[in-house]
Symmetry: C2
Subunit: 442 residues, 2 copies
């Protein structure tokens, strides 16, 4: 058995529970935005089938009421994390991180929230444990890399289990050694296959990760002895799950001082991520005064990899609409709120005005365009063209980032409920985790 | 999405819940022996640290009392399966199967028993669901093969999850289609790494598998849509977990008519199965009069696959002792009862006489030796050598098999309690699952 602090697992454990961590303002600001985004996605997802099914399982089991199940009820922390994880990823509208090739908050926040409710933690402690958890997930995610994903594993669930365990361990007040054992338990418990995409398995993965994290931290707190080097030992998690493990030192560089999580991306349109760069460009033109009747033709230029993902030319259902460049372009030019779920309806697919506009859109592939970018060229009825590009990787000023997420919250929850949530998260450092849970339950 | 019945996952699902299966007498007899063996190992394991810790976790969560937690308490079926699985494998004294390269009963029986208690099933139904579950685990285990194990996965936990899901699905009365979804959920939930051997992670794997099986069956019963071809689809479980998938048709041959589970092996030494063939040979030499002071050196020759499993050269704890060829060899030559739990103690690891003998043992790998066999070569202080081999695959007559297991039950539980258990299992087809649970609780 190797030392508990020298290797990767031990270093992440020491980071996760370090009492003297300095949390940068930018990282805390982004973590608050992701908390807000998570809460809105979860509240909006409670009626999805996977959410109802997972909640029914948890309700049937019952148990010590420690934590809020969003959508109704209270349950043991592990069970609440399972249900809330699945619910928060049900709409696939939550945040993503390119280091980690997955969705960090839906795996980590449900574990942090449930454990914070169980332990009666402050909002400050919840926010910091969440940040430590997603940061851990991003660091491990970077080490596992795209090789892990391409081989067939879903990082939301695999790296997410480690992030959830780290957050739960911090809130439970585990020692670094106990936390290494918790990560070791997570190493043998983590799973999740990409072949579940398109089924309820995908959102359930987020719940699995969150529940694994609580279970691992609780067991370690009770004295469970696992491999305290379980992530990086011979035949540990990385070895057995096609981790790239490129340069571990580079992946861990600045751990505790710089925060890779700051690069998290939030979704602002309730449709396929491949349409988002184009929608940003189109909404920009609309804000500058372009009206649909002025549009003779539109060319939307994207990276070719997206053509197999979201280029349904003439969608007929709300679900298909989310994967249609032509219809979402027409929606944006018509001023529809592409951040709202109800915009993507069967009725929209049959709307004559939208169809007329949709049929003037041409989609063009260009390998020179980054897969985070798009270019829009509008030919005006009056002659002349407008040209606009957008790259999702372009850093966004803090004020614009907050404004956009707050707009999404209102679009998802309505003004009254949305505003209450925005204010709660803004004040989280003066509140308790149970205060936040009360807002989510109420 | 592929058809739910054509492929491997669908065929196993159809087998698991087939209403008209013909259960052979030999298979039912062996399943009863394994039930008896499981019950004895579990009752004997209740005070082990991993059992206490897992039971504490389950007790803390509480919930609907559906099933017996052996060692104390009642819990939801999933939670009882988690605790009972870990407890039953805590001593590593339970049955094994070489097709499956793992421990079938500790993964499957806790799921079958808890689900049978929940649903009020008969002892007949429990016995048959258990047999269907272990048979499913052995078939998948054969397909995953040793490649899966050598790469670092622990079949007790991985194949065990599928077997547990199959047993739970049968007792829950799921349709074949629902069962395919349950197996699909298990495909994305199953995990377990061999690098946990020597820690509490190993016995916990059995609990994970049993709990996964219940969770998967329950979710599928609630309408969860997963990949109904999740085991064998592209980037499904076999693809992503180094399955050999040699000849699937051969692995499934006779499914529902012949029972691979009949080849299950029961342990008669309280240590890693990899040491047993050698121990049989060593005890044979001892019975013929060999004394430790006559031993100048011992060469223990085994299949190379075992070197990563049970070759801790200088163990310091009772648990490590169970995975040490050198120390267990010294124990057998010294006449210690390797069938008794208390033989494997920290004190034994520090015993000067044992250490002196241990340090005269050389372990040698030879790929020509079957992994069920071992050869012992003793060089005598007086000169000359003794040579003896043993193969666990040598078939044992039914009466001898029953007699050996009943002897083990009495050795573990004492005469009164042991006899009561033997009689309960003998009468299981006229009793209910709850009757058996009552004996385990009492």
């Amino acid at each position: 058995m190797t030392s508990t602090t020298a290797g990767l697992t031990g270093r992440l454990a020491a980071f996760a529970v370090a009492p003297d961590l300095v949390f940068g303002d930018a990282a805390l600001r982004i973590a608050r935005l992701s908390m807000l985004d998570w809460c809105a996605c979860t509240l909006a997802g409670v009626e999805e089938p996977v959410s109802r099914i997972t909640r029914a399982l948890v309700a049937d089991e019952g148990g010590t009421v420690e934590a809020t199940v969003v959508g109704g009820g209270r349950a043991p922390a592990r069970a609440a994390a399972l249900a809330n994880g699945a619910t928060s990823h049900a709409l696939d509208y939550d945040d993503t991180h390119f280091d980690y090739v997955g969705h960090p908050s839906v795996a980590v926040f449900p574990a942090a929230l449930a454990m914070a409710e169980r332990t009666g933690a402050s909002g400050q402690a919840l926010l910091r444990a969440f940040l430590v958890g997603v940061e851990s997930a991003c660091r491990i995610g970077h080490i596992l890399g795209t090789a892990h994903y391409q081989f067939g594993f879903h990082q939301t669930s695999t790296s997410g289990s480690f992030g959830a365990a780290a957050a739960a361990a911090r809130l439970l007040g585990l020692s670094a050694e106990q936390t290494a054992h918790a990560l070791g338990i997570a190493a043998t418990r983590a799973s999740g296959l990409k072949s579940q995409f398109g089924t309820m398995g995908k959102p359930f993965h987020a719940g699995m990760a969150a529940a694994n994290g609580i279970e691992a931290a609780r067991l370690a707190g009770l004295g469970f002895v696992s491999r305290p080097d379980g992530i990086d030992c011979v035949q540990g998690f990385i070895d057995t799950h096609q981790g790239e493990a490129r340069d571990v030192e580079a992946s861990l560089a600045g751990l505790g001082r710089s925060w890779r999580f700051e690069a998290v991306q939030h979704k602002h349109h309730a449709c396929c991520h491949g349409t988002h760069a184009g929608l940003e460009a189109l909404h920009g033109l609309r804000r500058e005064g372009l009206r649909p009747e002025e549009v003779a033709a539109v060319t939307l230029r994207v990276n070719p990899r997206w053509l197999r993902v979201c280029n349904i030319p003439s969608p007929t259902t709300g679900l298909e609409a989310k994967f249609s460049y032509r219809l979402t372009t027409a929606m944006a030019l018509n001023g529809l709120e592409t951040g709202a779920l109800e915009t993507f309806s069967d009725a929209a697919c049959a709307d004559a005005a939208l169809i007329a506009l949709r049929d003037r859109v041409l989609v063009e592939a260009d390998a020179a365009i980054a897969d985070t970018a798009a270019e829009v060229i509008v030919t005006r009825t009056s002659g002349g063209t407008l040209r606009r590009e957008h790259d999702l990787d372009r850093p966004m000023p803090a004020a614009e980032q907050a404004e956009k997420i707050e707009g999404k919250v209102i679009a998802l929850l309505g003004a009254a409920r949305g505003q209450r949530l925005i204010e709660t998260i803004a004040a989280i450092e003066t509140l308790t985790a149970r205060d936040l849970a009360g807002v989510l339950a109420g």
